[in-house]
Subunit: 581 residues, 2 copies
């Protein structure tokens, strides 16, 4: 993902000249809006009507990068008529990723879990423009993104173009993390994209077709039918369970001669699979896998993978062993995409792992760039960083000390601005704020000074947790951001956010707040484990689809629902399809 130096140079020159010519003409629109559009693109997008009419303020340009959970959820809720919206993504569809493991085995078809972006765009009657291209570079200084389409190399015309933005929404997701393990990129399958799932489906059938050939030894059959899953998270576990079901329900009948050679191994570096779940669920899953004959190898780190073997090291003993395999699925973690990494360096976040935003999902250090989903992480403001300002704001009578009543006056704003405050109270089962005023001997005090206040609140920041990189988070962030964009004008006049402890007035919007609906892991054979909010753990018969419908009700169109249900009906009647296409 290196960028052609000459092109960028050309771009900069081109734009600065346009900047000059438009400076006066656009000075009323505010926010540095530029009506620049390449002459070639005008023919299809047409010059925005608002720009040619100086009476009406021009619509601000919103560029959205990515059509995954975050981007799609943002687009679905955005009132696109308020902005000039352009979407860039190398995929022209949204994929309902929780069903990817099902696609690997043909339980549902790839096409049933995707929603074409063009269908969404069509409903907006031209208010959203979509370009199937990859974002090569975010040029923050010039407020442009450089994009390149990789489609149809035989087709004419340059696929390279740049888009200017007033607001940029980075929802570009993350890439697979190989932890630089040698051979992973070349010899492992991943499970992030729809294409990955389709490839795995074909590869599994290949393993069986190869294994039954008359020219193979039993040892070779055994190797080809050894399926290894690296990573015991929900995706890896669900894939292993799906594969086991697929084998038991279909493949054993289609390839009876090799049924005794099949083996599935899940390799997990931690001590348990599903370690983000409640321990009871981990154990339940491990027991279920044990009964099913799926081998779970915990405490193992993969050292390298080649086309024939996977080499790993047992953490406890330091023992290194190499196991022959037919197929390896790598499902461990995520890493930052190069284009995001480059952007992070531009804005001084080069040392971080992931793009940091504030609680309103705005990228730190950038006025006009927002980031949602796996490519970003919210940097929650610490109470201790603002402690003096909070004290000062709460100390209405400027006495230099704070009463419980004074704190209560600002408590709502504190709780909204610093959610860790409420989490702390809950975790300590504190119902009455005056408990905080107790001294070290446990005596209630009337008032406390700044030092006492710092002491009382000192442990609260420990409650801050970063959000997991899940579809649920991305989806809620997209929704939240769209709501902000829709009410930008209104909220700028009547701010709805908490009071600013540093500075005056209120924040324009309420900060983003994640609502956890729990997590869910299908374990095969109609069994599933679910962890619901309030420590509710459910194990047993699967209600997978109902579950997905609840937590992703927005993204799952009726189309997708019906397609998936019809796939299940097909499977129920005819079994899974073993054709290698």
């Amino acid at each position: 993902m290196t960028i052609h130096a000459v092109n960028i140079k050309a771009l900069v020159v081109k734009e600065s000249s346009i900047l000059l010519s438009l400076t006066v003409y656009n000075n009323s629109s505010g926010g540095g809006l530029l009506s620049y559009s390449e002459s070639q693109s005008e023919s299809i997008t047409g010059p925005p009507a608002s720009n040619t009419n100086s009476d009406v303020p021009a619509k601000k340009k919103v560029v959205v990068l990515g059509t995954g959970w975050g981007g799609t959820s943002f687009l679905k809720d955005l009132d696109a008529s308020l902005y000039d919206v352009q979407v860039v993504s190398p995929c022209n569809y949204f994929a309902f990723t929780p069903l990817l493991p099902s696609v690997t085995c043909g339980t549902v078809e790839a096409r049933s879990i995707v929603e074409p972006v063009r269908n969404m765009v069509k409903k907006r009657k031209g208010d959203i423009k979509f370009w199937e291209a990859e974002c090569l570079k975010i040029d923050h200084a010039n407020k442009t993104v450089l994009c390149r389409s990789n489609i149809g190399n035989n087709l004419v015309g340059s696929g390279e173009f740049s888009l200017e933005y007033d607001y940029l929404v980075v929802a570009i997701g993350a890439q697979v993390n190989t932890f630089n393990t040698p051979g992973v990129k070349e010899h492992c399958h991943f499970l992030k994209e729809v294409e990955d799932a389709q490839k795995i489906r074909r590869a599994v059938i290949d393993c069986f077709e190869k294994a039954v050939l008359p020219s193979l030894s039993d040892e070779e059959r055994r190797t080809n039918l050894h399926f290894v899953v690296v990573g015991g998270g929900p995706t890896g576990v669900e894939f292993a369970a799906e594969l086991h079901d697929h084998f038991q329900e279909d493949l054993v009948n289609l390839y009876p001669s090799v049924k005794d050679f099949v083996k599935i191994t899940v390799i997990q570096s931690g001590d348990h699979i599903l370690n983000t779940f409640d321990e009871r669920i981990s154990l339940f899953a491990e027991e279920k896998f044990g009964r099913d004959g799926i081998k779970v190898q915990t405490g193992c780190r993969v050292l390298s993978v080649d086309d024939k073997n996977i080499t790993m090291k047992a953490k406890s003993t330091g023992e290194i062993c190499s196991v022959p395999h037919g197929l390896v699925i790598w499902s461990t973690g995520i890493a930052t995409r190069p284009v995001v990494r480059d952007f992070m360096e531009q804005i001084g976040q080069g040392k971080r792992h992931v793009l940091a935003t504030n609680e309103w999902l705005r990228v730190k250090g950038c006025e006009s760039v927002y980031a949602i989903g796996d490519c970003s992480s919210i940097d929650q403001q610490k109470i201790m960083d603002d402690i003096s300002a909070i004290f000062e704001a709460a100390d209405k009578d400027k006495s230099g000390t704070l009463t419980v009543a004074e704190l209560k006056d600002v408590i709502d704003d504190i709780i909204v601005r610093y959610p860790q405050f409420e989490l702390y109270l809950k975790s300590k089962h504190i119902l009455d704020l005056s408990t905080l005023w107790k001294d070290s001997e446990g005596n209630y005090r009337e008032e406390i000074d700044i030092e006492g206040f710092k002491m009382a609140l000192s442990h609260m920041d420990s409650q801050m947790k970063s959000l997991p990189a899940t579809a649920q988070v991305a989806s809620q962030q997209g929704e939240y951001l769209a709501r902000c964009f829709n009410r930008m004008h209104q909220c700028e006049e009547h701010p709805e956010g908490p009071r600013r402890f540093k500075g005056s007035g209120r924040h324009t919007f309420l900060p983003f707040r994640y609502k956890h609906f729990g997590q869910f892991a299908p374990l095969g054979g109609e069994q599933a484990a679910a962890e619901l909010p309030g420590d509710w753990v459910a194990m047993g018969h699967s209600t997978q689809w109902l579950w997905y419908s609840v937590y992703a009700s927005k993204q799952v169109s009726w189309r997708t629902r019906m397609l998936v249900i019809s796939d299940w009906t097909r499977r129920f009647i005819f079994g899974r399809d073993s054709s290698r296409i």
Copy 2:
């Protein structure tokens, strides 16, 4: 498709030693049956029980190459318990090819038109073995086929193996004929396999996604959206019609900005498209295409294709022109596969275009090899070649002359053996055989001698027509051959065929007779043209599916029917899917 010399050598040595050791032991089974099986393969196939027990005659080994229309139809009807059946095909599915043009546009899904071979095999409870591999060489002298699996290059074990046969059924189909036109292989899409259709579907969406990008000129958009179909046969015409429908019904709404740039051109070397159909149908199709804006360019030969342009020559004027394109579909004709060509050279058919069989579908010059479908053509015995024998057989009283009554005694056998006889009578509207006895002045004669007989029958061979390379023919041939195999024993004892004019006794089986159910061409917009037996021409509303169900009732499983209907329902409700997967 070259064969590794060392491997073949090893194979020959191995087999001749086995031949020696088994000669005595198998002398009762007849037909040169060999119980050879590679030691490695025994572990999965197990040694055939019949071979280890000398009381029961060993089952004869039938090897079937290909799982297209011919091979599948043969397998569906074969009583597999009578033989030791092995099937070799690089595809592990049967594809209902008449719906391929629909797959290119997503009207039906690829998976809906395929039937996994393993499903068919499963129903036979182990009587049929299937190997997903390509046949590299038919070694007629040793009665073996050498096969290689190309799947999963990362998987262990040699994919090369050989199979011995007592009977070989070659149903390997044909390949695309590029007529050695430069650039066709590299730059054109074909429409023979399911993968081809899937690629075209993606490529069409690519053309549109590329064309809408902001960086393109109108001229570039126009080029990328120029779809060229080379070949005006049923497949090419149907693809053009499907694409036009797809565009009108879906793409125009999804890519409204480029709707005026789309162009579809059909290039046909002959004077009319659909030239195997009735002329009325050709004209109807051309008019329909004219109304739809599909350009039909007849009398044009393509000289070359590159990634940007297609160059052609108008036959009448000799003018050469080069047209830029976004996508070219090459759908012209078929050519013999290299493995069939090699086999033809082994058996002295090197100078022919296609494998010749007799009327019983047995390859000429090979006792034990049968060929069906596109890879073969029936060499109908000429009446004139056998005229003396026919005369002699009919001349019961050995008078040297033939009466009409004498001819009538053998007429049924003649009609069965030489179908051109009946065709001739029909074409000349001859109801009474004595018409044949007329002399050159038109006078009826009582008897005729051999010269008169030759004269009377001399034009009949002109009625011989080779069968078209269609699914209908292949399917009927497979069905016919399976029936022969099923009754081999019974018919050897009680021959059902016509009398042998040369030699004595009767032919074991009735010869293959093709029953033409007509042909059908969907023309888009629910319009279709059908040509039914008896010169019945129907044009208008499509009853595509009913049609397919009639003529292909055997191959179309209930599964396929339901899947296709459910696809149509999906499309009816949600439109076609434009996701690029």
